[in-house]
Symmetry: C2
Subunit: 144 residues, 2 copies
DNA sequence: TCGGGTTCGGTTGTGCACAACTAAATTGGG
DNA sequence: CCCAATTTAGTTGTGCACAACCGAACCCGA
């Protein structure tokens, strides 16, 4: 189990750098719609799942209300979604897309190919990468 | 080259989430020394390379002066390093460790094992992960 | 039923990431 | 030699990430 000293630290940096590099690729693709990558993630959840509570958005994206509240406020100000209190449980707030927000899905289109190309990895390698990241995150969730 | 649509988007999110999860593991390990993960990265460069210019720190960590300037100011305020203008080229600023900053290396010790364990991945898998991330970053650097 | 504990969203404060900009020092071509 | 272009660090402004905290709403057991 030795010999990993340098490698693991490099992985942590690669992870950190790769994540920032990934959002840097998204940036010019999302900028025309005045979206950031985290905002885009929220919209993807709403496009996929329909109206969602702030709580569920937080669980899905691993973000707390300290991050989501102002982010959703900005998306609402841009007219992409609206927030409404649940009538039965006043603690809960639902985020639901406006027509503009729904239409945005088509306007943005499929960014996938551009991201895949940027990595220069094959589909097998991407699948491998996905599996490794998922397993590491899964394991880390327990071993805190 | 089809069929990647869902997968690639999941990878981008996994990357984003894994990076934040990684820093979350570092946080309690660094907090006793009042360090953040990016601050720790700067110290690692200085521990490894000795006195370094702000410019080279930026190249190494892929950060610009807008991020590094205040970060270095905070590390200086904590007494871990000092900044000094180059006498021959007044544009250049050198960051060099204080004795406290140098000693910190031993005080923090080797965090590697704890990170490796958290991932639950084997050394082969970590090596694979490292290689995939590096290649993707390398490729993305060109294809922008 | 009622009162303590929990859940939920929001606010505040700190630090990072990055774009856009500034100012000073240096460089290099004419 | 000189001045325009470049390099370098720093500043400002915006948005994300997260800890710490708050208040309101809800839940549940005695």
């Amino acid at each position: 189990m030795r010999e990993s000293t340098a490698l693991d630290d490099m992985i942590c940096f690669q992870l950190y750098a790769a994540s920032r590099g990934m959002t840097a690729i998204y940036r010019p693709l999302l900028e025309p719609h005045h979206l950031t990558y985290p905002q885009y993630l929220v919209l993807r959840v709403l496009w996929h799942d329909g109206p969602t509570t702030v709580r569920d958005l937080g669980h899905t994206l691993r973000l707390d209300s300290g991050t989501l509240s102002p982010l959703l406020k900005r998306l609402e100000a841009q007219g992409y979604l609206r927030r409404e209190r649940d009538t039965h449980d006043e603690r809960v707030v639902w985020a639901h897309l406006t027509d503009t927000g729904t239409a945005l899905r088509e306007a943005i289109g499929d960014l996938t190919q551009r991201l895949v190309c940027a990595t220069g990895l094959t589909l097998d390698e991407l699948s491998q990468l996905h599996q490794l990241l998922t397993r590491a995150r899964q394991s880390a969730k327990g071993n805190t």
